[in-house]
Subunit: 477 residues, 2 copies
């Protein structure tokens, strides 16, 4: 076992012989064996013991781990934490609270002592139990692969690896090693780490499964091992897809390209959404199946409101083809859309240049060459420019924002008008930018809604004698 | 349910309304519901029933399915097969034999009737049982994803899809549907398909797991669903990697580029090896974990013999950087290496051109410009050409193949010679081409082993007065 761990560390390049390693030691057989092997391999160890204040013997155990460490000349550190209170305060199970408090302690000390890695004594049995536990609770590939031999970055650190050198060894081997090397574990495995649920798995469920396949533990261990490889490949693919599917992302938002996202296979779509959620909510451990499926459905066919409450205070919304995952109150990309703040309508000067918000400019000029303008207008496909006939205007052109009841008769629609609000929805103009959208009107009528439509009655005809050319554009900043 | 199946078929584009569908109907509730829904959706159905001759009531059941089909005006076909004998003859479990015989029947009839797809009535419960069964036996992603909604190509056909439109529906819903639509299943689910093992899962293991998580069936079903997406992504990645890692493949061999393969993440390496085995052994259902791991290990550090017995009569061997997966008796790529068939040594004519096998040519000429030749020889890095000093030859140059005890003193090795056989092993020359490798000798000594080494004593020196230039090359075919 000593030899196997040595070979493993070498083959996987897990540890640098010159740097310290922090080893978490409860005093149970697993961590004791780990400490023994790493010590004999010559690593400079910092032995870290957390007293969870959960058992009467806890203080005595801490002293015993200290005694063992010091008898070997190893640096020893310990801390007392009230796990039960922490669990109560944070509505966590004791097991979950102990896990968080313990790793927080180990990695805090690891940073303090500038070690290269934190090593913990999880065994193959722990691995099988973890996988079965994940499976019972519901999981995907990330859960089925179980714990990693080497996790870097991990939930606790970007720089200090979390190592589990005993992950390939069974409890029997650990016990045999203890006997062979005269290690005296100071308590057995029925400790606080082994809550009711985990104990039930070990003493009840796994033996039950062994009636179906006596090698079930090996089978599950191997499965996890193979799936870890598959998971790694998938992560790489998702990383590559991230580059083509994400337009931008920041502290509180990720903007996906909806169409690029939909071109990906569904497995990648799930991975990208999951990765996005992880970025914005790094603390969130369980992203449930249903949330991801709802997000997928929304991406394919968004709800009427164009947004949905996703998970943990995150909103998913669709603006044009931008699928935005963000905090509910993230400011997002308002500058992408033309917006104007007005208390009342203002007269549009022609010729003229008007500065709107975020670098948007409304430009207007009188048309001189009506023949050319007519040809250009007929072929125009850019909704942000318009040629407007001013032959029949009875009032000046005004710039204003929308009012309830606004209607528009889009170019080509000869018989009737439509509600501006519905037309905006159809064009997928985000709800939050509709109110401040600039509109050109006259006498209450919409003449041109830039980026949306020119009104049919104000189009340029061959017979038009007077016209204005208008353009709305965003200056490069 | 009717509506959901309709929507599913439309969304996933499973069926073309204009073409016939073959539906496998045992007479149990699942297949009866499937038939009913597809019939009501307006598909032209061919109802296929296999009489497995396993139960006393089998004949009567076949007649009943026929009666139901004909009362609906559906085409009906059936066949009688002795599954028990088939199982005995092929050393299969009854369940496995029934599965093979049944699908063979369904797809044979499907091809005959030119239908677009074979539809079978597997339910969500079947899916969960399948996943659990795979898990107990040991599996990877392919097994954990369970059965596919639409499998094309599948084990039985390259063109006719295997559909499972009820895979998202639970048994309870099936039974409720039967009652609501007054369908009368002619036998319940405790039929031959449900062998001891599967029955134990259903009546024993799954209820047991429900004590840990009452929603375990939903959890496993969803997990399979998500993993199916992951599997698809992985398959695509493996397909892409196949192009960069496979040099060539044929009926009985796949040649991987060892170095390209080793550059891939281990998940892809596993997938490529697995895919290679599948290509050569399409019938092989279970490729076990250990075989793949042994193959991976061999790829990293090949055995002394350069080959290993892999699985199902397949051999893995390494020749140079070519990792060859092949039938034990596949002829492979012998033409890549120079080979000669000789009964006795033959005199090498200088100048001369000698045709060896597979387009290899041994060319020789007298050296005219010894100064230039000396410079070229000093810088030569191509073991397939040589400048040989003929100053001290006491006998002619001969072409022959190796003999027991042959030794060579490779260029630069001033003091001693080595066994030719060991030297060939070190250079990773495949065992099977060593015996017919062409050698240039004189007086029993090896002068030049083309592609291997020039003998030190026969090298060109500054003082050399007579020399021969030789080259061994392969003509482009």
């Amino acid at each position: 076992m000593y030899e196997q761990v040595r070979a493993l560390i070498e083959r996987e390049n897990l540890l640098d012989p010159g740097k310290d390693v922090l080893v978490g030691v409860s005093g149970g057989p697993d961590s004791l064996v780990l400490m023994d092997i790493l010590d004999r391999l010559g690593y400079a160890l910092v032995v870290a013991h957390l007293n969870h204040s959960l058992r009467q013997e806890a203080d005595e155990e801490a002293r015993e781990v200290q005694r063992i460490s010091e008898s070997r000349g190893l640096k020893f550190i310990s801390e007392v934490k009230d796990v039960a209170s922490y669990a109560a305060q944070n509505s966590l199970s004791i097991e979950e609270a102990a896990r968080i408090v313990r790793y927080e302690f180990l990695f805090r000390q690891a940073a303090l002592h500038k070690v290269q890695a934190v090593a913990v004594g999880h065994t193959a049995d722990d691995q099988v139990e973890t996988v079965v536990m994940h499976m019972l609770r519901g999981c995907g590939l990330a859960g089925l692969r179980g714990m990693q031999l080497c996790a870097l970055p991990n939930h606790w650190s970007q720089e200090i690896a979390l190592l589990r050198p005993l992950l390939a060894f069974w409890r029997d081997e650990i016990i045999a090693y203890c006997e062979r090397h005269r290690l005296k574990p100071i308590f057995d495995r029925s400790n606080f780490e082994n809550t009711y649920f985990r104990n039930r798995l070990r003493s009840d469920l796994i033996p039950y499964l062994e009636r179906y396949n006596p090698a079930i533990k090996q089978v599950i261990w191997r499965m996890a091992n193979v799936l870890a490889g598959d998971h790694l490949v998938l992560e790489q693919v998702i990383k590559a897809a991230w580059k083509t599917c994400v337009i931008s992302h920041g502290q509180d938002f990720v903007i996906f390209d909806q169409l690029a996202l939909l071109k990906q296979p569904v497995g990648i779509q799930r991975g990208l959404l999951r990765h996005g959620i992880n970025l914005l909510r790094p603390g969130l451990r369980d992203i449930d199946f249903q949330s991801i499926e709802r997000a997928l459905n929304f991406t394919i066919s968004p709800t009427q409101t164009g947004q949905m409450d996703l998970i943990s205070g995150l909103r998913l919304s669709l603006e044009g083809n931008q699928l935005i995952l963000a905090d509910w109150d993230a400011p997002l990309t308002r500058g992408e859309w033309p917006q104007v703040t007005l208390h009342e309508s203002i007269i549009l000067e022609t010729p003229g240049q008007m500065q709107l918000k975020d670098g948007w400019v409304l430009h207007s000029e009188r048309v001189k060459d009506l023949v050319t303008a007519f040809r250009q207008a007929t072929m125009n496909e850019d909704a942000f420019q318009a040629w407007v006939s001013t032959d029949n205007l009875s009032a000046p052109l005004l710039l204003r924002t929308r009012k309830p009841g606004d209607r528009i008769q889009p170019l080509g629609m000869k018989e009737h008008s439509v509600k501006l609000s519905e037309y905006m929805i159809n064009l997928k103009i985000p709800r939050r930018v509709r109110d401040a959208w600039p509109l050109i009107t006259t006498n209450g009528d919409i003449v041109w809604a830039p980026g949306i439509a020119l009104a049919h009655p104000y189009r340029l005809k061959e017979s038009t004698r007077q016209a204005v050319y208008m353009q709305l554009y965003k200056m490069e900043s």
